[in-house]
Amino acid sequence: MTSSTFSFFKAASRWSKNHKFFLTSFGVLAGGGSSIIYALEQSIHASNDAAHVAKQKWNHNGWFDTLDHASVRRGWEVYKNVCAACHSVEYLAYRELVGVCLTENEAKAEAAEQMIEDGPDETGAMFKRPGKLSDLIPKPYPNEEAARYANNGAYPPDLTYITQARIDGENYIFSLLTGYMDPPAGVVLAENQHFNPYFPGGAIGMAQALYDEIIEYEDGTPATQSQCAKDVVTFLKWCAEPEHDTRKLFAMKAFTILGVLNLVVWYLHRHYWSVMKTRKIFQSPKSLFKK
C-alpha cells in the first residue's frame, strides 16, 4: 500500500499535526465527558433505595393529547380540600384557573371566600379583604419556618412545579400518594414518620392523605384513592405546565409546515445535485500499464 492508495482518510493526511492533535483531544474530551455524565446519572439511580415507580398510562401522554380538563377540575377539588391543608401552590393565581377548570364566576366566588391581606391603607395599616381573581392562591403557612414548626420539622414543598421538580414527575407523585404501607420488619421510624417505599429513605413526614371516599366529587365520579391521586396529579401537571395544550397544538402545526418545507428542500436538493448525479466520468489509467 502506497500513500497514493485510495483512502477514506485522505483529507486527514493533509492536516497539520496541531490540527490532528486538536481534533483528537476534542473528540476524546467530548466522548469522555459524555460518558462521565451518563455514568454519574446512572449511579444516582443505582444508589437510590426508593422503589421504582410504575409508568402509568396518562391520557395526556401522547404527542398531540391534551390534558383531560374534567380531571384537572376534579384535581383542583382534591388539592383544595386535601393538599391545601399543608401544601401551597404559591405561584398560581385564581385568574389562571379560568378557562382551564373553572368558569369565571366560579373562580371569582372561590377567590372571594378567601380573606387576602392587602394594604397599606391611608393609616398605614394592612387590612383583610375578600380575594379577587388577580390574587395568588393563599398559602397554608406564612413562611417555611411556620410550616416546619407545624409539621414536626418536615417542610411540605410548594406544589406549583412539583411534577417538573421530581424524577419521573407524575408517575412518582401518583406512586407516592398511593404507596403508603406498614413498615417492613426491621425498619424503625421516628415519631410522626410514615413508611413509603417510593420516598428516598422510606421514612416520610407526610401521612397518607388520600383514602377512598375522602372527598365527594361534584360530577359524581367515584372518589377512590387512585382516582383522587390521578386527578390531583393531572391538576399538578397542568399547574407545572400551563402551556401544555397550546404547546402540543403548536407542535402539530410546526410538524405540518416543516413537512411542506421538507418537500421544497427535497426538490432543491434533487435540482442542485442533478448535474453531479447524471454526469459520467471516464477514466483511462494509462500510466499504470505503460511499459
Binding site: F64, G99, T103, N105, E106, D245, L249, K253
Partner: protein, 58 residues
C-alpha cells in the same frame, strides 16, 4: 407546455408577480393550516378540553 413552464411564465418570471403570489398564497396557506390543524386537534381530543365540558358549569 409542462406545469413547470406555465408556473415559470405566469408567476416566477416577474419578481413583481412573484412577490404578490407569495403574499397571497401565504395568507391562505396559513389560514388553511391553522383551521385544518385546529379541527384535527379538537377531533383527537374530543371531550377532553375545557371548551368541551364548560357548558356543564355555566
Amino acid at each position: 407546455m409542462s406545469i413547470v413552464n406555465v408556473l415559470y411564465k405566469t408567476v416566477l418570471k416577474r419578481p413583481s408577480r412573484f412577490f404578490v403570489v407569495v403574499a397571497v398564497t401565504s395568507l391562505f396557506f396559513e389560514r388553511t393550516v391553522d383551521i385544518g390543524i385546529e379541527s384535527l386537534y379538537d377531533r383527537i381530543n374530543r371531550g377532553k378540553q375545557w371548551k368541551d365540558i364548560s357548558s356543564k358549569y355555566e
